[in-house]
Symmetry: C2
Subunit: 411 residues, 2 copies
Amino acid sequence: MALIVQKYGGTSVGNLNRVRAVAERVAAAWRQGNRVIVVVSAMAGETNRLLKLAHDLSPHPSPREVDVIAAAGEQVSVGLVAIALKDLGIPARSLLGFQVPVETDGVFQKARIKRIDASKLLGIVEGGEVAVVAGFQGVDRWGNLTTLGRGGSDTSAVAIAAAVKADVCEIYTDVDGIYTTDPRICPAARKLERISFDEMLELASLGAKVLQIRSVEFAKRYGVPLCVRSSFNDEPGTWVVAEEPSMEDVLVSGVAAEQNEAKITLHRVPDRPGLAARIFGPIAREHIVVDMIIQNASEDGFTDVTFTVPRADHARALAIVSDVARDIGATGVSSDTNIAKISVVGLGMRSHAGVAARMFEVLAREGINIQMISTSEIKISIVIDAKYTELAVRVLHAALVEQGFGEETPS
Amino acid sequence: MALIVQKYGGTSVGNLNRVRAVAERVAAAWRQGNRVIVVVSAMAGETNRLLKLAHDLSPHPSPREVDVIAAAGEQVSVGLVAIALKDLGIPARSLLGFQVPVETDGVFQKARIKRIDASKLLGIVEGGEVAVVAGFQGVDRWGNLTTLGRGGSDTSAVAIAAAVKADVCEIYTDVDGIYTTDPRICPAARKLERISFDEMLELASLGAKVLQIRSVEFAKRYGVPLCVRSSFNDEPGTWVVAEEPSMEDVLVSGVAAEQNEAKITLHRVPDRPGLAARIFGPIAREHIVVDMIIQNASEDGFTDVTFTVPRADHARALAIVSDVARDIGATGVSSDTNIAKISVVGLGMRSHAGVAARMFEVLAREGINIQMISTSEIKISIVIDAKYTELAVRVLHAALVEQGFGEETPS
């Protein structure tokens, strides 16, 4: 008998038959004697429909009111799931964010959870009822409705699991786990049985369609074991858990590709203290998130600085650094939106040197030029020409995941 | 400078252009220096869509959860109206039922308002903002969402107007006021400039499409002047107000027809004390609302009892009284679903005899047989064969409203 939090995404409650299927699954867990808290997203498409209403009405709709409108989506789905559960004879009750309450800060559309009151939820489940909680939404200290931003229901579920000290937080979605790479690119991709929080965080782009990355940070901080599973079948899914010693045996857990970045280079900048602040201060003030930054040590007092930004922010970032470039005496600025970032992630890298070398070797053999390199303790990311994305993923997956590093084939 | 509550129905916010038009109207009142509270219904069709979801999911959906789902409709429309107001430069803020709060009893789907906290609303409007309040919804003392039942937004508006002691409560809808009779039946129908609360209550069926009758009771009890107007034009509408002496000058304010009732008669019932209780007790216990009841004084110890019920409840009521009839020794039961109730209403009837006689005379001249008669201080209702509905309305309107009673034409 355990305390379980189950989270169902939009496709899992996408129509009334799906809602009934969710209720069956919840009922099965409840009948086994578990106490169950269900966290539900809006029905697939509903959040988009509601946001479109607001944005069709106004070019800049009030963020406070957008949250009021968007929160209606989860309100409908929790009611439906609770009805379906009662039809199965399971005592159930829906709870909106303000009823839990899930207290957030006051930043509309991307609020952060500050505190979750576990007492009401625990009272409900200890009384034998299933609590069906609206994900994505909360209430600030002044009683305004807030939403957590896209994918926020995952974070709701993990935060609730942490607050009630749940034994597990199951994330039900339309894929059946986390894969070693994107199966659409690489048919040899296989589902991971388990992965550490840190690897999951580094594999953000592999998991982004499956699991909101903020929820993983939350789960790591509070030690909430996650299980990512499909609500469309009974496959076991992938466990995302705290690191265990045996995990280092696996050298590379996954290969991820991202194509939504752009690269900007400032050429021959006089290398003076405070240079990075001069460049990246104005970009940060525009709320543009910089991912990779490469600056080589200068030899002649000049250096090239290259960095990547989300492709959507490319034009704005370019305009900003073009101004900065004049001020700091750079000889020029160039940029490229036609890039891909390929990342190889694994806890085993900590204790096993040579992964980078193997990676470069494999790419070189295919004639793929590496434009940027950035490493962390458990990740190596490179930037390449976007046209090589699929090829790079396939050869790296074959060399580092399928064969394992120890079984290197002779070149 | 006044404190105004404006209520907009579902067709008034039926699409984004209508939402913008509502915002313009609110803005005009605000710019004239008034403090404005807006009460909004769900967009036309939205409540039905949400209820259909619940009822498609389950034959008997949990009433608590149906309210959670239904309340989402108003949540979207208050957000939209607040956004449209801000786009016009008007400071505005939406409030859901629980945020006001509008406290109700715990009877889901037809909750009654217990208490409205005026302090937050008054704080908002006194700070220069427009408060945009979700109609139809409230919260019970345990924090559960509740809804007031169909048309409940009118009641929300009147109750809020009473709580904040508003100068007027304007009900905006898709018709431009209360008419002396249904204009589709009688082209000579004309819009009333004003009508008393009591007349409005008796003319329920004339006003039902315009104004929820419970809201009129509320307005009467708290002396809230109502104005029923169209949100589609600038016509002045109809005032529904407390009675003034001059109102008795108008003998008949309106002629209403209802065709949704059925008639049931118990024949030759032994007339004993407790008879009515034996008949109507079982019907009441089935929550069937009985409208007219006629029982003639008996001469030979036997009496006929006739009553009307909503047509939808006819079969159930008939089954119940058929059982009762055997127990109490009635010789038989007959019923007729093919009837119409015609009501003539006017404060002037109190001081002016002869309206009934004139009514019967007009109907007799057309060969319309009167099956039942029931009178109150300001109303005379008759039951006739349904096929004469339109004819009866037209001749009664001509004789009692168009000509006025004083100007009776020679027959």
